[in-house]
Symmetry: C2
Subunit: 331 residues, 2 copies
C-alpha cells in the first residue's frame, strides 16, 4: 500500500514507448505482423514490454481494425453428446487459428434471435450456428453488418448463406440398405421431423429408398430426438424388426427401452443410428451408425467463414458424406 500508489494501473503502449526510448507508433508496429520496424527497435520494445508486463489491448485494436477476433457460436443443448463433440471441435479449431469463441447456448425456441442479436455489439468476425431453429430474421441484419454466417446442418430455406451439411440423402439410403442387409423386413424410422431439418431430410431419404426397394416401412414420430423420447417409444414398438433412429442419442434410449421389454438387439430388432457419438461404440450399445466427421465439419465451416470475410459476394454449400460403421446392433 505504501510502496506504490497505483497498484492496478494498466500498462499502455505509451509506457512501453517511453521506457524503450521510442515513439508509441514503434511499439504498435513491434506487435503488428508485417509492420515496418527495424530489428533493433523491435528488440528494445519487446524487452521493455516484458519488463513492464505489457499486453496489447485487443479491444482497442478491434476498435481500429473494425473487426475483432471473436467468433460467435450459437448452439443448442449439449445433453446430446454429438453437440458436445461439435462444440469441442469448433472451439479448438477456432483457438488454433487465433480466434476467440463466444459460446451462446440457444435452446429450442425463440431465444436464439435475442441472443444472437447481442453478437452484433461486439464486431464479431463471424458466427457459426448449429442450433435447431435457424435465425431467419437476423441473417439479413448480419449480412448488412458485413458479418458472415455459416450454418451447420440447417435448412436451405435461407438464401445466400454458407452452409455445411451432412449428406442426408445418402444417410437415409445407407440406413435402409444396412438394415435390410442385416435381415430386417419390417422397417421404421424414428424422428422428430416436425422440429428438426436434418431429421426430416433423413426420414424422407430413408422412406424413398424403402419405397424404391418395395420394403415395408412406417414412421414413428417423436417430440424431440433425445434419449427420453427414444426410450418411451420402445413401449409401443410392435411389428417392426429394423429401426433407423435419426441420431444415436435417441437410439441409445430405444435400445434401453427395448431391452427392458426383453427384446434382444439385434435378433429381435435391428437398429441403426446416426452421428457416431462416443456411446455408440461403448460395448453396452455397440450401435451401427453413420458417422458424421465433426472434426472435418468444423474445419470446413471455419474455412467457409474465412473465405467469406475476404469475398462477401458469394455463398457456398459444402456437403459431407457420412461414413457407415457397422457394429453389432445390425449384425
Amino acid at each position: 500500500m505504501s510502496s506504490s500508489e497505483k497498484p492496478n494501473r494498466k500498462v499502455t503502449s505509451f509506457d512501453v514507448a517511453r521506457r524503450a526510448g521510442v515513439s508509441r507508433a514503434a511499439v504498435s508496429r513491434a506487435f503488428t505482423p508485417n509492420a515496418s520496424v527495424s530489428p533493433e527497435t523491435r528488440e528494445k520494445v519487446v524487452k521493455a514490454a516484458k519488463e513492464l508486463g505489457y499486453r496489447v489491448n485487443y479491444l482497442a485494436r478491434g476498435l481500429i481494425n473494425q473487426r475483432s477476433d471473436f467468433v460467435g457460436i450459437v448452439a443448442a443443448g449439449m445433453d446430446n453428446p454429438f453437440r458436445a463433440m461439435q462444440i469441442e471441435q469448433i472451439t479448438k479449431n477456432l483457438v488454433r487459428r487465433n480466434f476467440r469463441p463466444i459460446l451462446l447456448p440457444a435452446d429450442h425456441g425463440e431465444s436464439a434471435d435475442h441472443v444472437m442479436d447481442q453478437l452484433l455489439h461486439y464486431n464479431v468476425s463471424g458466427v457459426l450456428v448449429t442450433s435447431d431453429a435457424p435465425p431467419t430474421a437476423l441473417c439479413a441484419e448480419f449480412a448488412a453488418a458485413g458479418v458472415p454466417i455459416v450454418l451447420i446442418n440447417k435448412a436451405d430455406s435461407i438464401p445466400a448463406v454458407d452452409r455445411v451439411v451432412s449428406d442426408n440423402d445418402t444417410a437415409g439410403r445407407l440406413a435402409a440398405t444396412t438394415l435390410i442387409e442385416g435381415g430386417a423386413q419390417h422397417l421404421a424410422v424414428m424422428s422428430a421431423a416436425a422440429i428438426s431439418y436434418t431429421a426430416r431430410r433423413r426420414q424422407q431419404a430413408f422412406l424413398a429408398c424403402c419405397h424404391s426397394l418395395e420394403a415395408d416401412v412406417r414412421v414413428i414420430p417423436v417430440k424431440i430426438n433425445d434419449y427420453a423420447n427414444g426410450f418411451a417409444a420402445a413401449a409401443a414398438l410392435d411389428g417392426v424388426d429394423g429401426v433407423f433412429c435419426v441420431n444415436d442419442y435417441m437410439a441409445c434410449g430405444l435400445i434401453d427401452g427395448l431391452r427392458q421389454r426383453g427384446i434382444a438387439i439385434p435378433d429381435g430388432v435391428r437398429i441403426i443410428g446416426h452421428d457416431d457419438v462416443p456411446q455408440a461404440s461403448w460395448t453396452g450399445y455397440d450401435l451401427t451408425t453413420l458417422r458424421q466427421p465433426c472434426d472435418l465439419q468444423a474445419e470446413q465451416a471455419i474455412d467457409l467463414l474465412l473465405s467469406r470475410m475476404d469475398d462477401p459476394e458469394t455463398a457456398e454449400r459444402v456437403e459431407l458424406t457420412p461414413i457407415s460403421l457397422v457394429r453389432r446392433s445390425t449384425a
Copy 2:
C-alpha cells in the same frame, strides 16, 4: 452499387444524435442504465436508433469502462459428459446475467497457461477454471491485473483464490458406506490420483473410511478417469466385489468391461460412481452415484466472481455436498 456508396458503413451514436436532434452524449445516456435523461429525449433517441439500426459498440464501451462483459471459461475435454453439463450450466448462467462466455478448451497439459494468457488482452471481468491443471503461474498475473479467478474443483495449493469444490470427504465416506451396505466385502477405489486433484481427495477419503471400518480395500490406479481406462481395468479386476469409481464416465467403462467378462452388476460386483451424468440414469447402466449439483455449482461460482469484482481483498471457499443416489448397481 449505384444507389449507395457506403453499403457497410457502421452506424455510430453520432448519426443517431444528428437524426434525433440531440447531442451525442444524450444518445450515450439513453442507452446507459440510471443515466440522467428526460423521457422525451430518450424516446426520440431510441426511435432514431431503431430507424438507423444502431447498436451500441460494446468494445468501445469496454474501453472506457475498463471492463468488458467477457468472462473466460477454461475447460478440459468435453468427452466426459459431466464437463459438457458444467459448461452448459455455466454458459447459460453467464448469458442470463448478461455476460459473454469465451470458451477456451484446455487439454491435459501445458496448453492452459498459454491459452489463458490470451484472456488478459480482452479486459475480461473474470475467469472460471475447470480444467485439470490449475494455472498456478498465471494466477499472480491475473491478480495483478485485477481480474478475479474462480477455480472449480481444484487443489487448495494456490493461496488467495476463490474456489467452489465438491465435498470430497463426504463423497468418499458415502461411497464406502453405500458399497458396504449393498453387501460388498472386498472394496476397491479406481482413480487417476496422479493427475487429478478431486480423484486424489475422493480416494483418500474412501480409503480412510474403509480403514476406520476395518474393511478390506485396495487401490486400482488408472492413467485417466475416462471410459477407455475404466473398460480396460475390468480385465484385471479380481477378488473384488465393490468398486468406487471416482467419476461416472469411468464407471460406465468398468461396467461394460465387466459385463463383457460375464460378470453381473450388482451381483458379481457392486459399483458406485460420482457426478450423476445423464448416462448414469440410463437403464443400461442404472448406476448408483453421488450427484454433483452442477447448476448450483455454476451459480455459486459466478456469485463468487461477482462479489470479487466489488471486493478484491478476500477469497472464499464454497463447498457443495454431493447427493447420494442409490440405483441398481449397488442394490
